[in-house]
Symmetry: C2
Subunit: 226 residues, 2 copies
Protein backbone atom coordinates (compact mmCIF):
# COMPACT_ATOMS: atom_id res chain seq x y z
CA UNK A 1 0.00 0.00 0.00
CA UNK A 2 1.56 3.27 -1.12
CA UNK A 3 0.08 6.62 -0.18
CA UNK A 4 0.11 9.33 -2.84
CA UNK A 5 2.33 11.93 -1.21
CA UNK A 6 4.22 14.90 -2.63
CA UNK A 7 7.22 12.55 -2.86
CA UNK A 8 5.28 10.00 -4.83
CA UNK A 9 3.93 12.73 -7.09
CA UNK A 10 7.54 13.66 -7.79
CA UNK A 11 8.15 10.03 -8.53
CA UNK A 12 5.18 9.84 -10.87
CA UNK A 13 6.33 13.01 -12.56
CA UNK A 14 10.01 12.12 -12.59
CA UNK A 15 11.33 12.19 -16.10
CA UNK A 16 14.52 10.76 -17.43
CA UNK A 17 17.07 12.15 -19.87
CA UNK A 18 14.45 11.95 -22.60
CA UNK A 19 12.84 15.02 -21.02
CA UNK A 20 15.15 17.24 -23.08
CA UNK A 21 12.84 19.66 -24.90
CA UNK A 22 15.06 19.52 -27.99
CA UNK A 23 14.08 15.91 -28.64
CA UNK A 24 11.24 15.27 -31.07
CA UNK A 25 7.84 14.57 -29.45
CA UNK A 26 7.92 10.84 -30.08
CA UNK A 27 11.20 10.62 -28.17
CA UNK A 28 9.94 12.92 -25.44
CA UNK A 29 8.53 12.28 -22.02
CA UNK A 30 6.24 9.31 -22.05
CA UNK A 31 5.13 7.97 -18.79
CA UNK A 32 1.92 6.45 -17.65
CA UNK A 33 0.93 5.80 -14.11
CA UNK A 34 -1.94 3.64 -13.10
CA UNK A 35 -3.24 3.83 -9.58
CA UNK A 36 -5.77 1.27 -8.37
CA UNK A 37 -7.70 3.27 -5.87
CA UNK A 38 -10.05 1.80 -3.33
CA UNK A 39 -12.11 4.75 -2.15
CA UNK A 40 -12.72 3.19 1.25
CA UNK A 41 -15.72 5.13 2.47
CA UNK A 42 -14.81 4.86 6.15
CA UNK A 43 -11.41 6.32 5.36
CA UNK A 44 -12.80 9.54 3.95
CA UNK A 45 -13.46 11.12 7.29
CA UNK A 46 -9.86 10.62 8.30
CA UNK A 47 -7.69 13.68 8.14
CA UNK A 48 -5.30 11.99 5.73
CA UNK A 49 -8.05 11.18 3.21
CA UNK A 50 -8.81 7.99 1.31
CA UNK A 51 -6.13 5.38 0.82
CA UNK A 52 -4.57 5.27 -2.61
CA UNK A 53 -2.47 2.45 -3.95
CA UNK A 54 -0.25 2.79 -7.00
CA UNK A 55 -0.39 -0.64 -8.61
CA UNK A 56 1.50 -0.12 -11.84
CA UNK A 57 3.78 2.31 -13.64
CA UNK A 58 3.93 2.07 -17.44
CA UNK A 59 6.21 3.98 -19.78
CA UNK A 60 7.03 3.64 -23.45
CA UNK A 61 10.54 4.96 -22.78
CA UNK A 62 12.64 2.09 -21.38
CA UNK A 63 15.14 4.47 -19.74
CA UNK A 64 12.47 6.63 -18.07
CA UNK A 65 13.61 7.42 -14.54
CA UNK A 66 10.04 6.94 -13.30
CA UNK A 67 10.36 3.21 -13.96
CA UNK A 68 13.45 3.02 -11.78
CA UNK A 69 11.85 5.06 -9.00
CA UNK A 70 8.72 2.91 -9.14
CA UNK A 71 10.78 -0.27 -8.76
CA UNK A 72 12.70 1.27 -5.86
CA UNK A 73 9.33 1.99 -4.22
CA UNK A 74 8.24 -1.61 -4.77
CA UNK A 75 5.77 -0.74 -7.52
CA UNK A 76 5.48 -2.86 -10.66
CA UNK A 77 7.01 -1.00 -13.60
CA UNK A 78 6.56 -2.07 -17.21
CA UNK A 79 7.65 -0.77 -20.62
CA UNK A 80 4.93 -0.82 -23.29
CA UNK A 81 6.09 0.77 -26.52
CA UNK A 82 4.30 0.75 -29.87
CA UNK A 83 7.59 -0.13 -31.55
CA UNK A 84 7.55 -3.51 -29.78
CA UNK A 85 4.30 -4.47 -31.52
CA UNK A 86 3.63 -5.11 -35.19
CA UNK A 87 0.24 -3.35 -35.14
CA UNK A 88 -1.39 -0.55 -33.19
CA UNK A 89 -4.17 -2.97 -32.22
CA UNK A 90 -1.75 -5.40 -30.59
CA UNK A 91 -0.18 -2.56 -28.61
CA UNK A 92 -3.58 -1.33 -27.43
CA UNK A 93 -4.63 -4.84 -26.46
CA UNK A 94 -1.46 -5.41 -24.44
CA UNK A 95 -1.82 -2.04 -22.68
CA UNK A 96 -5.50 -2.60 -21.89
CA UNK A 97 -4.83 -6.12 -20.62
CA UNK A 98 -2.04 -4.86 -18.37
CA UNK A 99 -4.21 -2.10 -16.87
CA UNK A 100 -7.20 -4.43 -16.39
CA UNK A 101 -5.05 -7.16 -14.86
CA UNK A 102 -3.71 -4.61 -12.39
CA UNK A 103 -7.34 -3.75 -11.52
CA UNK A 104 -6.56 -0.08 -11.98
CA UNK A 105 -9.45 2.22 -11.01
CA UNK A 106 -7.69 5.25 -12.46
CA UNK A 107 -5.07 5.73 -15.17
CA UNK A 108 -2.95 8.85 -14.71
CA UNK A 109 -1.04 10.23 -17.69
CA UNK A 110 1.85 12.46 -16.68
CA UNK A 111 3.98 13.53 -19.61
CA UNK A 112 2.60 10.76 -21.82
CA UNK A 113 3.03 12.14 -25.34
CA UNK A 114 0.80 9.77 -27.30
CA UNK A 115 -2.89 9.91 -28.06
CA UNK A 116 -4.77 7.22 -26.13
CA UNK A 117 -6.54 4.76 -28.44
CA UNK A 118 -10.33 4.43 -28.35
CA UNK A 119 -9.81 0.78 -27.34
CA UNK A 120 -8.03 1.83 -24.14
CA UNK A 121 -10.46 4.71 -23.52
CA UNK A 122 -13.46 2.36 -23.77
CA UNK A 123 -11.96 0.04 -21.19
CA UNK A 124 -11.62 2.95 -18.72
CA UNK A 125 -14.52 5.36 -19.31
CA UNK A 126 -13.93 8.60 -17.34
CA UNK A 127 -11.06 6.77 -15.65
CA UNK A 128 -8.11 8.26 -17.52
CA UNK A 129 -6.77 11.68 -16.57
CA UNK A 130 -3.99 13.78 -18.05
CA UNK A 131 -1.76 16.57 -16.78
CA UNK A 132 -1.08 19.46 -19.19
CA UNK A 133 1.32 22.41 -18.68
CA UNK A 134 -1.03 25.19 -19.89
CA UNK A 135 -4.52 26.54 -19.26
CA UNK A 136 -6.46 24.55 -21.85
CA UNK A 137 -8.00 25.19 -24.33
CA UNK A 138 -4.97 27.47 -24.86
CA UNK A 139 -1.79 25.72 -26.06
CA UNK A 140 -2.69 22.05 -26.51
CA UNK A 141 0.00 19.69 -27.82
CA UNK A 142 3.50 18.74 -26.84
CA UNK A 143 5.17 22.19 -26.75
CA UNK A 144 2.71 24.08 -24.54
CA UNK A 145 5.22 26.04 -22.45
CA UNK A 146 7.25 27.24 -25.45
CA UNK A 147 4.04 28.03 -27.35
CA UNK A 148 2.71 30.15 -24.46
CA UNK A 149 5.98 32.11 -24.24
CA UNK A 150 6.03 32.66 -27.99
CA UNK A 151 2.41 33.85 -28.00
CA UNK A 152 3.29 36.35 -25.28
CA UNK A 153 0.63 35.47 -22.69
CA UNK A 154 1.07 36.98 -19.23
CA UNK A 155 -0.81 34.16 -17.49
CA UNK A 156 -0.51 30.45 -18.26
CA UNK A 157 -0.91 27.48 -15.94
CA UNK A 158 -1.67 23.82 -15.41
CA UNK A 159 -4.69 21.69 -16.34
CA UNK A 160 -5.78 18.22 -15.18
CA UNK A 161 -8.49 16.79 -17.43
CA UNK A 162 -10.29 13.60 -18.38
CA UNK A 163 -8.81 12.08 -21.53
CA UNK A 164 -10.89 11.72 -24.68
CA UNK A 165 -10.03 10.91 -28.30
CA UNK A 166 -8.70 14.41 -28.99
CA UNK A 167 -5.38 16.11 -28.28
CA UNK A 168 -5.86 17.67 -24.82
CA UNK A 169 -9.57 18.25 -25.47
CA UNK A 170 -11.23 16.31 -22.63
CA UNK A 171 -13.39 17.76 -19.82
CA UNK A 172 -11.38 19.83 -17.32
CA UNK A 173 -11.20 18.71 -13.67
CA UNK A 174 -8.83 21.32 -12.23
CA UNK A 175 -6.75 24.28 -13.36
CA UNK A 176 -4.32 26.61 -11.68
CA UNK A 177 -2.85 29.82 -13.07
CA UNK A 178 0.89 30.58 -13.26
CA UNK A 179 2.08 34.12 -14.06
CA UNK A 180 4.62 34.65 -16.81
CA UNK A 181 7.28 36.98 -15.41
CA UNK A 182 9.31 39.53 -17.40
CA UNK A 183 12.45 37.83 -18.66
CA UNK A 184 11.11 34.30 -18.19
CA UNK A 185 12.90 31.67 -20.27
CA UNK A 186 11.33 28.33 -21.11
CA UNK A 187 13.38 26.86 -18.27
CA UNK A 188 12.38 29.34 -15.55
CA UNK A 189 8.71 29.23 -16.55
CA UNK A 190 8.76 25.42 -16.78
CA UNK A 191 10.22 25.19 -13.28
CA UNK A 192 7.29 27.16 -11.81
CA UNK A 193 4.76 25.22 -13.89
CA UNK A 194 6.21 21.87 -12.84
CA UNK A 195 6.05 22.94 -9.18
CA UNK A 196 2.30 23.52 -9.59
CA UNK A 197 1.91 20.23 -11.51
CA UNK A 198 3.54 18.30 -8.66
CA UNK A 199 1.02 19.79 -6.23
CA UNK A 200 -2.13 19.77 -8.40
CA UNK A 201 -1.98 16.21 -9.77
CA UNK A 202 -1.92 14.41 -6.37
CA UNK A 203 -4.65 16.83 -5.16
CA UNK A 204 -6.89 15.77 -8.03
CA UNK A 205 -6.13 12.07 -7.52
CA UNK A 206 -7.14 12.43 -3.87
CA UNK A 207 -10.38 14.23 -4.86
CA UNK A 208 -11.24 11.44 -7.31
CA UNK A 209 -10.42 8.75 -4.73
CA UNK A 210 -12.72 10.52 -2.28
CA UNK A 211 -15.57 10.45 -4.82
CA UNK A 212 -15.63 14.24 -5.04
CA UNK A 213 -15.24 14.53 -8.83
CA UNK A 214 -18.34 14.04 -10.98
CA UNK A 215 -17.74 13.50 -14.73
CA UNK A 216 -19.88 15.62 -17.10
CA UNK A 217 -23.51 14.72 -17.72
CA UNK A 218 -24.36 13.80 -21.34
CA UNK A 219 -24.30 16.90 -23.54
CA UNK A 220 -22.14 18.84 -21.09
CA UNK A 221 -18.39 19.31 -20.65
CA UNK A 222 -18.58 20.62 -17.10
CA UNK A 223 -16.93 18.52 -14.37
CA UNK A 224 -18.36 19.10 -10.92
CA UNK A 225 -15.98 18.99 -7.97
CA UNK A 226 -17.49 19.15 -4.52
Amino acid sequence: MVEVTEDLADEILARGPSRDASLPPQGGVELKTSGAMAPEREGESKADGPRIEVVLVVSDVPEAYALKRARLAGIRAVVVSPRDFSTREEHDLALTALLCEAEADLVVLAGYMRLVSPAVLQAFPNRIINLHPALLPSFPGTTAIADALRYGVKVTGVTVHFVDEGMDTGPIIAQEAVRVEEGDSEETLAARIHAVEHRLLPQVIRLIAAGRVRPPLPGSRVVQVH
Copy 2:
Protein backbone atom coordinates in the same frame (compact mmCIF):
# COMPACT_ATOMS: atom_id res chain seq x y z
CA MET B 1 -7.79 67.68 -17.21
CA VAL B 2 -9.36 64.47 -15.91
CA GLU B 3 -7.38 61.90 -13.96
CA VAL B 4 -8.09 58.25 -14.72
CA THR B 5 -9.42 57.01 -11.41
CA GLU B 6 -11.39 53.92 -10.47
CA ASP B 7 -14.49 56.09 -10.87
CA LEU B 8 -13.53 57.14 -14.34
CA ALA B 9 -12.72 53.55 -15.24
CA ASP B 10 -16.26 52.70 -14.19
CA GLU B 11 -17.39 55.54 -16.38
CA ILE B 12 -15.37 54.28 -19.31
CA LEU B 13 -16.72 50.82 -18.70
CA ALA B 14 -20.28 51.94 -17.98
CA ARG B 15 -22.67 50.28 -20.34
CA GLY B 16 -26.22 51.22 -21.06
CA PRO B 17 -29.32 49.07 -21.48
CA SER B 18 -27.74 47.60 -24.62
CA ARG B 19 -25.47 45.56 -22.32
CA ASP B 20 -28.18 42.90 -22.08
CA ALA B 21 -26.45 39.66 -23.05
CA SER B 22 -29.59 38.46 -24.81
CA LEU B 23 -29.18 41.09 -27.52
CA PRO B 24 -27.34 40.07 -30.69
CA PRO B 25 -23.66 41.10 -30.84
CA GLN B 26 -24.21 43.97 -33.26
CA GLY B 27 -26.68 45.47 -30.80
CA GLY B 28 -24.41 44.76 -27.83
CA VAL B 29 -21.99 46.89 -25.93
CA GLU B 30 -20.13 49.21 -28.21
CA LEU B 31 -18.12 51.89 -26.61
CA LYS B 32 -14.85 53.49 -27.49
CA THR B 33 -12.83 55.72 -25.30
CA SER B 34 -9.97 57.80 -26.47
CA GLY B 35 -7.58 59.26 -23.96
CA ALA B 36 -5.04 61.84 -25.10
CA MET B 37 -2.22 61.18 -22.71
CA ALA B 38 0.66 63.53 -22.16
CA PRO B 39 3.27 61.37 -20.41
CA GLU B 40 4.83 64.41 -18.75
CA ARG B 41 8.24 63.08 -17.79
CA GLU B 42 8.59 65.26 -14.72
CA GLY B 43 5.26 63.99 -13.46
CA GLU B 44 6.31 60.36 -13.46
CA SER B 45 8.20 60.59 -10.23
CA LYS B 46 5.12 61.86 -8.46
CA ALA B 47 3.33 59.35 -6.28
CA ASP B 48 0.13 59.79 -8.28
CA GLY B 49 1.83 58.92 -11.57
CA PRO B 50 1.63 60.57 -14.98
CA ARG B 51 -1.26 62.83 -15.80
CA ILE B 52 -3.86 61.34 -18.08
CA GLU B 53 -6.52 63.32 -19.88
CA VAL B 54 -9.59 61.73 -21.45
CA VAL B 55 -10.26 63.88 -24.50
CA LEU B 56 -13.06 62.02 -26.22
CA VAL B 57 -15.58 59.23 -25.72
CA VAL B 58 -16.98 57.57 -28.85
CA SER B 59 -19.74 54.98 -29.05
CA ASP B 60 -21.74 53.54 -31.91
CA VAL B 61 -24.71 53.06 -29.58
CA PRO B 62 -26.49 56.46 -29.21
CA GLU B 63 -28.10 55.45 -25.91
CA ALA B 64 -24.86 54.15 -24.33
CA TYR B 65 -24.70 55.32 -20.73
CA ALA B 66 -20.98 56.00 -21.13
CA LEU B 67 -21.80 58.93 -23.42
CA LYS B 68 -24.01 60.48 -20.76
CA ARG B 69 -21.43 59.95 -18.03
CA ALA B 70 -18.72 61.44 -20.22
CA ARG B 71 -20.80 64.57 -20.82
CA LEU B 72 -21.54 64.86 -17.10
CA ALA B 73 -17.77 64.74 -16.53
CA GLY B 74 -17.22 67.47 -19.11
CA ILE B 75 -15.71 65.09 -21.68
CA ARG B 76 -16.63 65.36 -25.34
CA ALA B 77 -18.88 62.43 -26.30
CA VAL B 78 -19.74 61.52 -29.88
CA VAL B 79 -21.77 58.81 -31.61
CA VAL B 80 -20.09 57.27 -34.67
CA SER B 81 -22.10 54.41 -36.10
CA PRO B 82 -21.52 52.60 -39.40
CA ARG B 83 -25.24 52.84 -40.11
CA ASP B 84 -24.90 56.64 -40.39
CA PHE B 85 -22.48 56.30 -43.31
CA SER B 86 -23.11 54.98 -46.81
CA THR B 87 -19.76 53.16 -46.99
CA ARG B 88 -17.34 51.56 -44.57
CA GLU B 89 -14.60 53.87 -45.88
CA GLU B 90 -16.57 57.00 -44.98
CA HIS B 91 -17.16 55.67 -41.48
CA ASP B 92 -13.47 54.87 -41.01
CA LEU B 93 -12.47 58.29 -42.31
CA ALA B 94 -14.83 60.07 -39.93
CA LEU B 95 -13.62 58.00 -36.96
CA THR B 96 -9.95 58.52 -37.80
CA ALA B 97 -10.47 62.26 -38.31
CA LEU B 98 -12.25 62.54 -34.97
CA LEU B 99 -9.50 60.70 -33.09
CA CYS B 100 -6.72 62.66 -34.82
CA GLU B 101 -8.46 65.98 -34.26
CA ALA B 102 -8.71 65.12 -30.56
CA GLU B 103 -4.94 64.46 -30.61
CA ALA B 104 -5.50 61.14 -28.91
CA ASP B 105 -2.29 59.35 -27.92
CA LEU B 106 -4.16 56.19 -27.01
CA VAL B 107 -7.47 54.68 -28.12
CA VAL B 108 -9.06 52.40 -25.51
CA LEU B 109 -11.72 49.92 -26.61
CA ALA B 110 -13.91 48.77 -23.75
CA GLY B 111 -16.78 46.60 -24.89
CA TYR B 112 -16.44 47.78 -28.50
CA MET B 113 -17.88 44.89 -30.49
CA ARG B 114 -16.62 45.76 -33.99
CA LEU B 115 -13.37 44.91 -35.72
CA VAL B 116 -11.21 48.01 -36.11
CA SER B 117 -10.49 48.83 -39.77
CA PRO B 118 -6.92 48.80 -41.09
CA ALA B 119 -7.39 52.52 -41.91
CA VAL B 120 -7.93 53.35 -38.24
CA LEU B 121 -5.19 50.93 -37.10
CA GLN B 122 -2.66 52.56 -39.43
CA ALA B 123 -3.42 55.99 -38.01
CA PHE B 124 -2.69 54.70 -34.48
CA PRO B 125 0.05 52.06 -34.70
CA ASN B 126 0.42 50.30 -31.32
CA ARG B 127 -1.89 52.97 -29.92
CA ILE B 128 -5.16 51.05 -29.74
CA ILE B 129 -5.83 48.67 -26.84
CA ASN B 130 -8.76 46.38 -26.10
CA LEU B 131 -10.20 44.80 -22.98
CA HIS B 132 -11.36 41.17 -23.27
CA PRO B 133 -13.20 39.09 -20.63
CA ALA B 134 -11.14 35.87 -21.00
CA LEU B 135 -7.53 34.69 -20.95
CA LEU B 136 -6.71 34.97 -24.65
CA PRO B 137 -6.01 33.05 -26.85
CA SER B 138 -8.83 31.09 -25.15
CA PHE B 139 -12.36 32.29 -25.95
CA PRO B 140 -12.00 35.16 -28.42
CA GLY B 141 -15.15 36.80 -29.77
CA THR B 142 -18.21 38.42 -28.30
CA THR B 143 -19.47 35.63 -26.01
CA ALA B 144 -16.27 34.86 -24.08
CA ILE B 145 -17.77 34.42 -20.62
CA ALA B 146 -20.55 32.08 -21.79
CA ASP B 147 -18.08 30.17 -23.96
CA ALA B 148 -15.70 29.64 -21.02
CA LEU B 149 -18.54 28.36 -18.81
CA ARG B 150 -19.76 26.02 -21.55
CA TYR B 151 -16.25 24.66 -22.14
CA GLY B 152 -15.96 23.93 -18.44
CA VAL B 153 -12.70 25.73 -17.64
CA LYS B 154 -11.87 26.17 -13.96
CA VAL B 155 -9.78 29.31 -14.55
CA THR B 156 -10.64 32.17 -16.90
CA GLY B 157 -9.77 35.85 -16.63
CA VAL B 158 -9.20 39.21 -18.26
CA THR B 159 -6.84 40.33 -21.04
CA VAL B 160 -5.74 43.80 -22.18
CA HIS B 161 -4.05 43.68 -25.57
CA PHE B 162 -2.93 45.80 -28.51
CA VAL B 163 -5.49 45.70 -31.30
CA ASP B 164 -4.59 44.27 -34.69
CA GLU B 165 -6.64 43.26 -37.74
CA GLY B 166 -7.83 40.02 -36.13
CA MET B 167 -10.58 39.21 -33.64
CA ASP B 168 -8.85 39.52 -30.24
CA THR B 169 -5.51 38.35 -31.68
CA GLY B 170 -3.20 41.28 -30.89
CA PRO B 171 -0.13 41.22 -28.60
CA ILE B 172 -1.03 40.86 -24.92
CA ILE B 173 -0.12 43.64 -22.47
CA ALA B 174 -1.65 42.31 -19.25
CA GLN B 175 -3.71 39.36 -18.02
CA GLU B 176 -5.25 38.40 -14.73
CA ALA B 177 -6.81 35.07 -13.79
CA VAL B 178 -10.33 34.65 -12.36
CA ARG B 179 -11.39 31.31 -10.86
CA VAL B 180 -14.63 29.70 -12.00
CA GLU B 181 -16.48 28.61 -8.86
CA GLU B 182 -18.79 25.60 -8.55
CA GLY B 183 -22.32 26.72 -9.40
CA ASP B 184 -21.22 29.90 -11.19
CA SER B 185 -23.81 31.31 -13.59
CA GLU B 186 -22.89 33.64 -16.43
CA GLU B 187 -24.03 36.51 -14.20
CA THR B 188 -21.99 35.61 -11.10
CA LEU B 189 -18.87 34.89 -13.15
CA ALA B 190 -19.33 38.08 -15.21
CA ALA B 191 -19.58 40.14 -12.01
CA ARG B 192 -16.17 38.90 -10.81
CA ILE B 193 -14.64 39.32 -14.26
CA HIS B 194 -15.96 42.87 -14.60
CA ALA B 195 -14.53 43.75 -11.17
CA VAL B 196 -11.08 42.70 -12.44
CA GLU B 197 -11.62 44.57 -15.73
CA HIS B 198 -12.41 47.78 -13.87
CA ARG B 199 -9.12 47.49 -11.99
CA LEU B 200 -6.85 46.15 -14.76
CA LEU B 201 -7.74 48.57 -17.57
CA PRO B 202 -6.85 51.80 -15.71
CA GLN B 203 -3.67 50.07 -14.41
CA VAL B 204 -2.59 49.35 -17.97
CA ILE B 205 -3.45 52.88 -19.15
CA ARG B 206 -1.29 54.28 -16.35
CA LEU B 207 1.59 51.95 -17.32
CA ILE B 208 1.37 53.06 -20.95
CA ALA B 209 1.21 56.74 -19.93
CA ALA B 210 4.33 56.22 -17.81
CA GLY B 211 6.17 54.77 -20.83
CA ARG B 212 6.50 51.37 -19.14
CA VAL B 213 4.92 49.28 -21.93
CA ARG B 214 7.10 48.36 -24.92
CA PRO B 215 5.25 47.02 -28.00
CA PRO B 216 6.68 43.83 -29.57
CA LEU B 217 9.82 43.98 -31.69
CA PRO B 218 9.36 42.89 -35.33
CA GLY B 219 8.86 39.14 -35.55
CA SER B 220 7.80 38.88 -31.92
CA ARG B 221 4.44 39.01 -30.13
CA VAL B 222 5.89 39.63 -26.68
CA VAL B 223 5.04 42.94 -24.99
CA GLN B 224 7.57 44.01 -22.38
CA VAL B 225 6.27 45.76 -19.28
CA HIS B 226 8.83 47.20 -16.89
